[in-house]
Point group: C2
């Protein structure tokens, strides 16, 4: 953890109390003047830090920006997802950056955020609108030791974690739409795109790309998109703090990725089924080469959806566009 992370962590741990310059300077092995310089820099980023000659420093408020050091300071060190966080002002797609890192051999768990994406992507090459400063647009590098058929588990686990984080931070009723969306009151607020590089018998790496429509306004959505998508702000009383949500999302993702790694996918699947808006409904699922119509019954062990067709047999579907039949 670097200096800024450590300062912010110390200030946050103190809560309403102040932390003396002497204490910080001893803890971090820096002169009091150096601490003062770092605090000034943080202030210029928008952190409101009160400084009193006798009592020391106190964090009054943090800006709603994504600051890697600050996000890091709020995550436990033991955490795999988010052990390394990088924030870009603008990228094509955060998954492009993660892929470069993956090819360079970087360890799993690195998270890349962008304030804006110029080529954010959804499933099947669809565009994902990612305006500056209004959402959480990020990607995670994973190197899971799973078989190719189990890769859906990564999307399922990410859905479960993302839903839990959104509901906890906003108190909105969030549900899951199979295979990769989070809904609030029937409209999409977040999506997950899992891309991977694999041989047939091992996944070399996976990039889990996540987009959360946090503080988008109604006019950020096209007329077409407005019918099916919304933002957390539009569904809440007001704007939702992005940095706080980001920390929560990373924590929850880490917890569910640990469950997948530890062979506890069944627990993830149970939680998924409990919160899934798709289970129990009559659906049509359109895939590249075919479509399946029937009742969404449950989740299979590999993360695919089990659909009872009109002919009565159970089909396992790994992905596709779901339409609910009324």
């Amino acid at each position: 953890m670097n200096i800024d992370s450590q300062i912010l962590k110390a200030l946050r741990n103190a809560g309403e109390a102040s932390v003396s310059g002497v204490e910080l300077s001893q803890k971090l092995g820096l002169t009091r003047a150096a601490i003062w310089a770092r605090v000034s820099d943080l202030r210029s980023l928008g952190y409101e830090i009160e400084a009193q000659p006798h009592s020391g420093y106190r964090l009054v408020s943090a800006p709603d920006l994504l600051h890697a050091d600050d996000l890091l300071s709020q995550l436990p060190r033991s955490q795999k997802i988010g052990r390394d966080i990088r924030v870009f002002q603008e990228t094509t797609s955060t998954s492009d950056i993660v892929e470069k890192l993956a090819r360079d051999g970087v360890d799993e768990g690195v998270v890349v955020f962008a304030e804006a994406q110029t080529k954010g992507r959804g499933r099947l090459g669809r565009k994902w609108v990612s305006p500056a400063g209004k959402g959480l647009w990020f990607s995670i590098l994973l190197r899971p030791r799973i078989r190719l058929q189990e890769a859906t588990q990564l999307t399922i686990a990410s859905c479960v974690a993302l839903r839990r984080a959104i509901q906890a931070e906003t108190e909105l009723p969030a549900t899951i739409k199979w295979p990769n969306d989070i809904l609030v009151r029937g409209k999409k607020v977040a999506g997950i795109l899992t891309e991977l590089r694999a041989e047939l018998d091992r996944v070399a790496y996976a990039m889990v790309g996540i987009g959360v429509d946090v503080n988008l306004n109604a006019n950020d959505f096209s007329t077409e998109l407005k019918k099916t998508a919304t933002s957390l702000k539009l569904e809440s009383a007001g704007p939702v703090p992005r940095a706080q949500l980001a920390v929560r999302v990373l924590s929850e993702l880490d917890a569910d990725y640990a469950r997948v790694r530890d062979g506890e996918f069944e627990r993830v699947a149970d939680e998924w089924e409990k919160h899934c808006a798709t289970i129990g409904l009559e659906v049509t699922i359109r895939m590249a080469d075919r479509q399946v119509r029937g009742r969404a019954e449950s989740l299979a062990e590999d993360g695919s959806l089990l659909v009872r067709t009109e002919h009565g047999h159970l089909e396992s579907v790994i992905g596709g566009d779901v339409t609910v039949e009324k």
Copy 2:
């Protein structure tokens, strides 16, 4: 098709007969002097081309090198695999080049050969020895419209095609070892590595990397490798013409890839089972996270191997290291 391809094609089509300079010059829309210059260039590459003032040009022999134009001239234009051929003297791995092309949006069917690979790779990151001029080391870019679970079909189809081509060109008794090797008399002569980039519900692209130990000598193999691997030359009376084998392999690969695309994988699977050295044997298959022991029974529709375990149930295995139990 470029000029060199067209000249070589015309000479090959004429067989033992000669093709007049006038005829070539009219056909290709070039001066006779220009044709002469191209022929001189081909000669400098090692093509033995006889030139008689009155009868014209005749191809006496072709060198055993991989010349993209020459390979192209021997493939039907309708062919998808090999519609674009690139030959490198040396690369890290031909799949690295193909991946760059894939990322640049190049159409499927491009084939990259290298005379030597410095970082040829086998399954699970293992090294593939690829000495200069002694083998066929190449990779193919495919963009199949298949689901992730069906990706094994690409390896299976490639195995079937490669086995057929090797047997046809060398008359050696070639068999298939599941999931990705070709054997002659129980020893490996060729291997296939399928790598892919995918979302959960579509394969963005696949790179099928193929290595054939054509003219390697006994001292090209390490003592360890010698126990399990051999070359076509070592198993035959003498060296095997690489270029001719390459053309045959590409033709057969194209035929089987067409079967996969046309939904005729079942026919591929039938041929596979007929020539598979693994079916019917007691095997142990070691995977990253587990192992399966039992009798290899057949190939499933998705290309996985169905193994009847000692407990009597059928397990589907997508990849792994196979050991035959005596």
